[in-house]
């Protein structure tokens, strides 16, 4: 009978009374709660407005981007009623976003300028060379993609062993690796050639006795200040992917000179620093004329 009394009308009434009392105690919190909620609503609304505006701008920018991206004609521009001042800004912003995307894509394909040819059956890559911040020659390489990946035309000089490099890296699966190796060889060659050019320009007292097309060997004649002794220096660049020599060899009538501590230091300098700059240092130390 006890259980029945808790579920009876009276118990229900007492429950309601408790609830009413509780709600009553909450009433003073409501204004601040309302304020909170109102503030939140305002913040959310302004955020929504901001996002809407950004979306609009983005849409407009998309429309302003180069026609190559979309097949839209000038007629679309009329939909946008933007005044001239902000239109300039919009155009600049569109251009900026276009260029950033282009740069990103350029980096994705390894930094080479590439273009498809022959209706997609071929690709032509442009390999630039540079040394010490100066752009040198650009070489081009065309590949046929179907039925197999094959080298088609190019203007890479014959002393760069293109065919053996193609055999070493699997052309069918990893064109990127092949291009990276070719670019490495070309850049190293361009660097060595540029160093030779600078040696001839900047160091007239040094005579170039021998060089070759690949610039993989350089024989220089130094004049030692004391007695004007001639000193023959051979630089061998056996690693064709590097701009620095792998071996430096000295020849002199005076057999003791190459073994002197100064010249031992100079030899290691020539292996670590590009030759035209190494010669500057050697001259400064008055080891050569």
């Amino acid at each position: 009978m006890e259980g029945a009394s808790t579920r009876g009308v009276l118990s229900h009434l007492s429950l309601l009374e408790v609830q009413a009392r509780n709600r009553g105690s909450q009433v003073p919190q409501q204004p601040s709660r309302v304020k909170e909620l109102k503030a939140k609503v305002e913040a959310l609304t302004s955020q929504r407005d901001q996002l809407k505006a950004e979306l609009q701008i983005h849409k407009k920018l998309q429309k302003l981007r180069a026609p190559a991206d979309k097949h839209e004609e000038d007629g679309e521009d009329e939909e946008m009623d933007i005044d001239s001042k902000s239109s300039e800004l919009f155009h600049l912003m569109a251009r900026h976003s276009e260029l950033t995307d282009l740069l990103h894509a350029h980096n994705l394909i390894g930094g080479y300028d590439a273009i498809t040819t022959n209706g997609g059956k071929g690709m032509c890559f442009s390999l630039a060379t540079e040394y010490e911040g100066v752009y040198l020659d650009t070489y081009n390489l065309e590949l046929n993609l179907k039925p197999k990946v094959r080298i088609s035309r190019h203007n890479i000089p014959p002393f760069i062993p293109l065919n053996s490099l193609a055999e070493q890296s699997d052309l069918q699966t990893d064109v990127g690796a092949f291009l990276a190796t070719v670019s490495q060889h070309l850049n190293a060659f361009a660097g060595r050639r540029q160093q030779l050019k600078l040696v001839k320009e900047q160091h007239k007292s040094v005579e170039v006795m021998e060089s070759n097309l690949l610039c993989s060997i350089l024989v220089l004649m130094f004049t030692v200040p004391k007695d004007k002794t001639p000193l023959l220096c051979t630089l061998e660049y056996t690693d064709h992917t590097r701009c620095l020599p792998t071996r430096v060899h000295l020849n002199c009538h005076d057999k003791l000179l190459p073994d002197s501590p100064n010249w031992k230091k100079n030899c290691s300098l020539l292996k670590e620093v590009p030759v035209h700059r190494a010669l500057m240092a050697i001259k400064k130390d008055s080891d050569i004329v």
């Binding site: 442009s126 065309e142 203007n155 002393f159 070759n212 690949l214």
Partner: protein
């Protein structure tokens, strides 16, 4: 100086054009200043030759010096005679590090092993070309300096250019070259002509090739002065396309002055109206030769103007692409 040497000198003087004689002799540097002053270049060549013979006799110059003079003359004026190209294949691992001294020693020793009594002179030119002069003798006779062979090779490239090589001496020379450049084989490259500079520029790609690019540089308007707004070239686009394709195939600007191309046809005769010929089983052997003062520029013009259809047929585009000007064409496929 014996008669053969005198004869050699006289022939050489006759060969050198009068306009180049003085400068070549100066480069030679074997005549003293007073000798050079005493030579009167307004005289006839015959007289100059006679004077030179006596000067050389006085200075006790030998055949070695005369051949030096010949080499200087040919090196400065290489576009004479007929040059044939060979290609070295299958390089060994250290082929890429062969340097000049090594090559010189090896070539001389290999050649003298193969044939005694040869006179070899090797000189490096300023453009890194290695020039070799070989005068051939045999076991019994002295080297014949009147018919010397000249060879030009750039180290670390596969190409060798040869002039005045008899079939008798060919295998010896080619073997010496193969061994001294550390390759395993050498084969004919099917490129020949009078102008060494043209052959070299073509193979070394020393001319302006054109590659497809996304951002073509704008071509300068060539006839802006006479452009009239109302004249519109009806086929402007087609013409521009032809020019572009011709440029991409052959190149831009001045092209290496190749002077001929020969297509040796060994194909069956095809003429439905001539049964007598078509009935034959054997292929019809025919040789087609194109000649021009600058063949590549002529062919480019043919393609650009529409005389030759574009895209350029592989028969013609193979000339710059493969760097050869002799082709044998059979019924199956043009042999590569």
């Amino acid at each position: 100086m014996d008669n053969s040497v005198k004869h050699l000198l006289q022939r050489l003087i006759r060969r050198i054009p009068a306009s180049m004689l003085k400068s070549t002799l100066d480069k030679w540097g074997r005549l003293t200043a007073e000798n050079r002053k005493s030579l009167d270049f307004t005289q006839s060549k015959w007289t100059i030759a006679q004077e030179l013979v006596s000067i050389c006799e006085e200075s006790e110059l030998t055949v070695k010096h005369i051949t030096e003079l010949e080499m200087i003359y040919i090196t400065e004026n290489p576009n004479q005679g007929m040059w044939h190209t060979f290609q070295l294949v299958d390089p060994e691992d250290d082929a890429h590090s062969v340097e000049l001294m090594q090559f010189k020693e090896q070539f001389k020793s290999h050649l003298s092993e193969l044939k005694r009594n040869v006179s070899v002179k090797i000189k490096k030119h300023t453009d890194e070309a290695v020039w070799i002069r070989v005068a051939w003798g045999d076991g019994l006779s002295r080297p014949n300096h009147l018919k010397a062979t000249y060879v030009v090779h750039y180290l670390q490239t596969p190409y060798v250019f040869v002039n005045a090589l008899s079939s008798k001496h060919k295998p010896l020379l080619l073997q010496a070259l193969t061994l001294s450049t550390k390759h395993q084989q050498i084969k004919a490259a099917n490129l020949s002509g009078q102008k060494l500079t043209a052959l070299r520029d073509l193979l070394m790609r020393q001319y302006q090739q054109v590659f497809p690019t996304k951002y073509p540089s704008p071509l300068p308007e060539s006839d802006q002065s006479i452009s009239k707004l109302r004249i519109e070239k009806v086929q402007a686009e087609a013409s521009a396309n032809r020019h572009r394709m011709a440029g991409e195939t052959f190149g831009d600007g001045t092209l290496p002055a190749l002077q001929s191309a020969v297509f040796q046809l060994e194909t069956k005769f095809k003429d439905p109206t001539n049964e007598a010929m078509t009935q034959r089983d054997e292929p019809f052997i025919c040789s087609v030769k194109f000649s021009s003062s600058n063949l590549l520029e002529s062919l480019r013009h043919c393609a650009a103007s529409g005389i030759a259809s574009t895209p350029v047929t592989p028969l013609l585009s193979s000339i710059p692409l493969k760097g050869r000007n002799y082709f044998v064409i059979t019924d199956n496929v043009p042999t590569a």
